[in-house]
Assembly symmetry: C2
Homo-oligomer: 324 residues x 2
């Protein structure tokens, strides 16, 4: 069994063995730029961890692992364009470094490239693997659309928010694990459990992200705290605060989230004060712990030796224990 | 054997049996808008014609036929956004009717939907069918990129132009026919010939399109003539004229293609006069006839009863004999 660190190294090696070049250069340069700059490669590592957990040969999942990371990066590329985000992983986004049309077209090509990699290994389970990937792709589009819709709505419920982050973030983790399991020798029930594990970890991961934005340590988290508040993003924290607030606060919060002051520090502080008064941090931590517990149950349902699960357990801990 | 008209009716029926609805509506409405408004459905009709030509059951190709038309419409949707085209088939384009982000995301979803349809029929040749589709998708991205590159170049050769239209237009016709043949019982050699037939027809189709833009009858062609000249598009006609021109005309033409007068009629007339002096129309007609001849040879290489080929021959004639 490979350790978590060894799996990361495997994925790093897979990527450095690939060449994302081609002609015309105007199409392939942005793809190369996007795919060779690292990132955490969480999804391919999850996939390989699932393959080995079910006694498969991780090299069988090699191209699917590259495929899922390629797909993930395509979604980031188009999302950055839609959100007009100038930076990704500390570097200019494709639409900023080149232009909008380059971002649209090289993103489309990267989407196709993901399929190219998935098709490289003609496994007997290929149709099921591809259907899982296709279904997930569509769900991610739906999640992104819900996310955009929520920007213009003032009545988003917590249930709707959880469904949005399930589609936008969690299903791709579930998909990576499920496909990894299919490259192994998992039973149908095991596949279902590993998928649910991915969903629960994914939801917890996103809630943690919401929490870190408000309370994270800038040095560890790597981005400025309070940006969600500054950008009026209706995160889990905001929606929970609305739900728990008394009448006057329930009026005040949306008012604050309707402003974009040049210096946002007073606004951020007022919102954080409201969150503190309503004990939001504790509630979100409880919700994360609950999801983590469910994920653990999913894993417990899978009767494989603990050694097989070790890498996956480590990844989950790594994902969920990023410093506040 | 179904006639050309019956195949069109089949495709029409396939599409009216599908429902392109879903939630969130903001994602699916533009897909439904794009896929239910008709168009000529050339690619699915070609696919079915190839399936029956090789004694296959056209219903086996049903979902692939929907898939290829869905993919084609996705490329139009993103192309219209990149070109900032306000109209398509007489209706506002998605980016105009909604907005740019809607066009990006619903296009991405339509691309995924194409794969969804291709995956619906688990034929034993599915991996080969999907690889053909994936390769073609990538080539179309490359073709679109070359097309965008050419806008900023003054030294495009005719060979480069032919390669661009091969990638941007012809390969999808070849792909439709090849996949249709794979759903039939074609040999490898037959598959190669039907693919080449599609390429040659596709190239001829695009040259015909260039010609029609300059010389087409507005009523029959359905769009204004001279728009390529007005928009400074370096078509086959322009590139051929540059190649054949004397020194002074070789200077004058690019000058004209560097202007965008509010009333373009004088500019269009001057360019058409140059084309007339250089006998461009005749040369393009010869090039089209040559491609048509090659396509006929491809078809002759396939030793199947003439009755099997009838529908395909009719479609090719229909495509290439649109009135000037």
């Amino acid at each position: 069994m490979y350790s978590y660190k060894e799996l990361i190294e495997k994925v790093r090696q897979y990527f450095s063995d690939e060449h994302f070049t081609g002609t015309p250069a105007e199409l392939y340069k942005p793809i190369e730029y996007t795919l060779t700059d690292g990132g955490k490669r969480i999804r391919p590592v999850l996939m390989l961890a699932a393959t080995q957990m079910f006694d498969g040969d991780i090299d069988d999942a090699r191209y699917a692992a590259i495929g899922i990371e390629t797909f993930h990066n395509f979604t980031l590329l188009h999302d950055d364009l839609m959100d007009k985000s100038p930076l990704r992983r500390g570097k200019p986004t494709v639409y900023k470094k080149w232009d909008e049309n380059t971002a649209i077209l090289s993103g489309d090509a990267m989407n196709t490239l993901a399929w190219h990699y998935f098709l490289k290994n003609n496994n007997r389970k290929l149709p099921e693997i591809l259907k899982t990937f296709e279904k997930t792709s569509m769900e991610i589009c739906e999640g992104q659309q819900y996310d955009m819709n929520f920007e213009n709505r003032t009545d988003v419920t917590i249930a709707e928010y959880m469904e949005m982050i399930r589609l936008k973030t969690a299903v791709l983790l579930g998909c990576a694990l499920k496909i990894g399991a299919l490259y192994g020798n998992a039973t149908e029930e095991e596949v279902d459990n590993i998928y649910s594990f991915g969903i629960n970890i994914g939801l917890a991961f996103q809630l943690r992200d919401d929490l870190l934005d408000a309370y994270g340590d800038v040095a560890t988290f790597g981005k400025q705290t309070g940006t969600d508040i500054k950008d009026n993003k209706k995160t889990y924290l905001f929606l929970l605060a609305i739900q728990k607030a008394d009448d006057s606060t329930r009026q005040r919060l949306p008012e604050l989230f309707n402003t974009t002051p040049i210096d946002p520090s007073a606004k951020i502080q007022e919102v954080l004060d409201i969150y503190a008064r309503l004990d939001i941090k504790k509630d979100v931590e409880d919700a994360i712990a609950d999801l983590h517990h469910k994920a653990k149950e999913n894993l417990d349902n899978i009767k494989r030796p603990e050694a097989n699960k070790q890498a996956l357990v480590e990844i989950a801990q790594q994902l969920l224990n990023r410093k506040l």
